[in-house]
């Protein structure tokens, strides 16, 4: 039994806090009424996930999560909400089946229970030996050797995404 006031105990407590942040952020992101609050919940959840990555022995991916998701994607979604805020005073359920909410809840509950039970009851084949060294040097080496093709492909994907989003967002706008 680990004591709460030992270093290991404090690390465990920090992990529990991160789990709470992740779960609460996800709940806020899905249930909040206004869209901007749901964006804030998503950002909270992603910060928690970055903390989980840190506990999973990969500080580089945790840092990238903070930079790309919380920094870039969050800001982009916030800008889109500001540009296209939906009408808040619109009446909620017009022509909407009242069963939708209950069925969605049921489906996601079944998915959660199934996945969690599957993860808890399977006997995973542990890899023996010390925990892998997931340092930045190892990641850089495999990015430039084994996965160099994928690395180049994703840069093309990102370039196409940039040009495509510019074209899409520009269409329909009158010339000044």
């Amino acid at each position: 039994m680990t004591s709460l006031f030992s270093p290991e105990g404090l690390i465990g407590l920090l992990f529990l806090v991160l789990l709470g942040i992740t779960a609460c952020g996800a709940l806020i992101a899905v249930t909040a009424g206004r869209l901007i609050r749901s964006v804030a919940g998503l950002l909270l959840c992603l910060i928690g996930v970055a903390g989980l990555y840190y506990f999973l022995n990969s500080p580089f991916v945790a840092l990238m999560q903070l930079l790309i998701y919380v920094g870039a994607v969050g800001v982009v979604i916030a800008f889109a909400v500001m540009l296209a805020e939906p009408n808040p005073e619109k009446q909620p359920s017009r022509g909407r089946n009242p069963l939708t909410g209950a069925l969605g809840f049921l489906t996601s509950g079944v998915a959660f229970t199934g996945l969690a039970v599957l993860g808890l009851t399977t006997t995973w084949r542990r890899h023996v030996g010390p925990p892998p060294d997931g340092g930045m040097a190892a990641i850089g080496q495999s990015l430039l050797t084994t996965y160099s093709m994928v690395f180049e492909l994703i840069s093309i994907v990102l370039l196409v995404a940039i040009i495509g989003s510019l074209v899409l967002a520009r269409a329909g706008r009158e010339k000044p």
Partner: protein, 108 residues
């Protein structure tokens, strides 16, 4: 396994990943705006990434493959968010709304 040593077990990460996935699924069904659905999709992808990272840490003999997969998921998610949001802006310009129930020209 006590509450304070949860971070050393694979099951914790699997359960939180399943939670993120399921709540993203719920939001995908429940939300009525396009941006809300995009937020739910991001939650689903976060769940998948946590799964990859956990398996990489606890099971895989190769120490980097899960991390690199997660990095690529991030890149794809960033591209997807940019494209989706410009589509949302185009829809908003044409319909003055991003409600999924308003964009029904092909409804019949």
């Amino acid at each position: 396994m006590t509450l304070l040593t949860l971070h050393t077990s694979l099951s914790t990460y699997l359960v939180i990943a399943a939670f993120l996935f399921a709540i993203g699924l719920y939001g995908m069904v429940q939300r009525r705006t396009l941006i809300g659905m995009l937020i739910s999709a991001e939650l689903i992808m976060a769940g998948a990434s946590v799964n990859f990272m956990a398996f990489n840490r606890f099971l895989a003999p190769n120490p980097t493959v899960g991390q690199i997969f997660t990095l690529f998921i991030m890149g794809i998610a960033a591209a997807e968010a940019a494209i989706t949001l410009s589509i949302v802006l185009a829809v908003y310009r044409n319909y003055r709304s991003i409600d999924t129930e308003d964009v029904t020209d092909l409804h019949g």
